[in-house]
Amino acid sequence: MGKRRGAFLWISTMALTGMIAAVPVKSTGGEESSSACIACHTDLDEMDSYGAASAKEGAGIAG
């Protein structure tokens, strides 16, 4: 009985976590509405790793 209850709780928790991850954060304006974007894009070390890859193409200078 105990094992079955444990398994039920584990499955419920994982399902709830999955639902939360998939549902967009409700927009209340500003920072909260973009919390996921901000969390990633302010990780500068991570972002610079993409930046370096892009910069390899080099800058063009026009006339």
Binding site: A21, S33, C37, C40, H41, D43, G51, A55, I61
Partner: protein, 385 residues
Amino acid sequence: MSAPQVRGRDTYGVANDFVESVHGELGCITCHKGQNVADMDEAHKDMVKDPSEQDGGGVCKECHEEIASTYKDAMHYKLSGIMDIVGTITSPHKMEETLLPEAWALDCADCHASCGGCHVAWPKVAKGGLLDRHRFQKTPPMEKTCYACHGSRFAGEYMGKLGASADVHYEKGQMVCTDCHQANQLHNTQPEGVKRYYATETVRCEQCHPDAAKSGSSKIAMHNAHPDGTLACAVCHANEYFNCTDCHVSLDIKKPGEIKVIFPSNPLVTFKIGKNIDQSPGNPYQYNLVRHTPMKKDSLASLRYFQSVLKGAPGPEDLVASYNALPTWNSASVHSIQRRTKQNRSCNSCHGQRQLFLTTDDLKADDPTANEQVIFKTVPAEIKE
């Protein structure tokens, strides 16, 4: 001890202090759209990379309506100067009958500046990337923004990267582009009927150097010797500058679906005084420095072939049908100003020096006939002591 890490351009990283700024408080998706979720692909779905681009203001015009109301017609946004010239020399052909609209969209349009393309990111033509962690730059940094589009002419020579010298206003004056070309000029609508930039309001040399302009009562003998309206200041005070010649527009179609416009051309560093055929209140001089435009009669010839390949039928055989309508030597605002130059050392450093003047010696057989209006038939004679 390891060497300090040198960061290239920022492409995606956003500073925490930006998030707390007035623009940052709006939230990313207010401007860029997309989804506020952790999954990267999902988050970027329907994202707008440059939300300021559309109609000369995009989302910016919601708060900056006054600037956006003129910027949508400004030369920096519409690039109407280029379009006017191309339209003139390809007349009477209609653009839609040629490959020019495609070439325009593939390349020329990259130079058009959105609000964000100066105030937040590097211009598109320089491959984009954030200027400084998404912090908004009220005054765009010239070495990243102005230089990206004007690097092979004005900005390059101003900063000493091209030609014989940097400009004294840069070297000694520490001046940036916006000290002379202020926001109201850069954001403003192009005056109606103006082909290039001479009728836009810009600062003039005599506003900062009023004594220099008083021909007849100047303390500088050479200024007195040349009546008002004769010579543009740069004729005496600029150094050699960069030009392009023999330019050919071609397309690189090696990778399917990835067409690029390429411009093989020959560089030319020279100094040529010509007759000013663009006289206007902002450019009133009889003689000006002239720069070679990167154009020749067959510059666009390959577009006929590419039109065959890409559209199944060749374009007009004589695409540049009105090539003679415009000169390829044009009045130039050379930005390599110095007080002392080799042509202003003495009267005869210029007078009698045929190589400083645009003459028939500089014209080629297939040049447009309009060049005849710009050249000197005889150059000012040496002055006898």
